[in-house]
Symmetry: none
Subunit: 241 residues, 2 copies
């Protein structure tokens, strides 16, 4: 199973959510990251038109949401579950950071169902609820202001799950890079033009040529770009006065 | 300077935001991740009680927000800027992913001011606005549903900036980068010189100017390099025959 398929095995569990807008925002955040399973534990108001409005295109996740009465029921059948908590330590259990937890959850999702559990807007999860889960997880925040909106927390975790799902891929590469000799031809042309114009004095070179090589060396010139640059130089050399 | 302090040099720039709730949500997302500089380009409604309500404890960021009339004004003084776009390719410029871009921005923030630019809720940034920035950046989303809420996008990028700040070692970066206005001055000079020499015909621009922006945008020009390039142009313009 590849990572993106494993996203289908991840449930987002929202416990006793107060504001239906946050349920809608969570559905949209999930869908944008390729997640589909939403579980609601005793939501205060659901279904609700405010949730539908905030879902904005992710109404299918709301329609397919499983509504249950307790966290135990929500977690039944999962092999690994993470409790999102603002506290950095839970009863002396070390708390994993979001990125590490997402990677671990996704790895397990290749073999079975997993869950990410979010508490209420005002007080999060109770200690008993955290204890029901396999591990406490926190999203790193500023020590002075750790107040994340519920939908925003779901967004960050869903994003981390997607990043974990994307297999390490080759970095994007440019095509049509200029050949060594094309670039050398450009540098020679530039030097001629600078000399003829008086900007560059070969008898007193300073560090001008190495600096220009460094500049254009960084940019990985394409063949067509070398042609443009030489076209500009040629036109400036011929410039009518 | 350590990474967390560098977060103070990062501006979040919201361009022509329609819904004040998204401005409030962005402020809260920023503050939770330790960011403080909010810049609003021609917001549809600001200040606004809806923004205040959604900021929920981050009202100080709203109170301190800088409101300007144009993206150029917002970017003045920055040395690196990232345009958030849903498109995976911008006019054949490779688009960086959120994580890589956050790391690059934060590295540069140790030496100067940087900006992250977000467009409108419905249509994002225009091509011209993307071209004003140093690099296009996308947040990886599901191919079938790439619709991120504006506040959620700010949340993800702010989170990635914080994660980059917490990273043990920032990658080495160039110092002494040219400021936005210096680079704009160079492009204006280049256009004048190309026009005067006949290489560039403003009546038939083809894609010459965007191509040159792309070329020099990739290379992260330093201040001194801009001086050299303008010196070359000036000398060629004055060239004795």
């Amino acid at each position: 199973m590849n990572g993106v398929l494993a996203l289908d095995r991840v449930s987002i569990v929202l416990v006793r959510t107060s504001h239906p807008g946050n349920i809608g925002a969570s559905a949209r955040a999930m869908k944008a990251m390729g997640l589909s399973r939403l579980v609601l534990v005793a939501p205060q108001s659901f279904p609700d038109p405010v949730a539908d409005a905030r879902a904005s295109g992710a109404g299918d996740l709301l329609a397919g949401a499983r509504v249950v009465g307790s966290l135990e029921e929500a977690l039944r059948g999962t092999t690994l579950s993470a409790a999102i908590t603002a506290r950095r330590r839970e009863r002396s259990v070390p708390v994993k950071h979001a990125r590490e937890a997402a990677s671990e959850l996704l790895g397990h999702a290749e073999h079975g169902d997993v869950a990410l559990v979010f508490g209420t807007e005002t007080s999060g999860l109770s200690n008993d609820e955290v204890a029901l889960c396999s591990m406490p997880v926190c999203i790193p925040t500023s020590p002075g202001f750790s107040s994340l909106n519920l939908g925003a927390a779901v967004q960050v975790m869903s994003y981390e799950l997607r990043m974990a799902a994307l297999a390490p891929s080759a970095p994007p590469v440019q095509s049509d890079l200029a050949a060594f000799e094309d670039i050398e031809g450009f540098h020679a042309h530039l030097e001629r033009a600078m000399t003829a114009s008086g900007f560059y004095d070969p008898a007193n070179p300073k560090r001008l040529l190495p600096r220009l090589r460094r500049l254009f060396g960084r940019t990985r010139l394409e063949r067509e770009e070398v042609n443009i640059l030489r076209g500009i130089l040629g036109a400036l050399e011929r410039k009518p006065d």
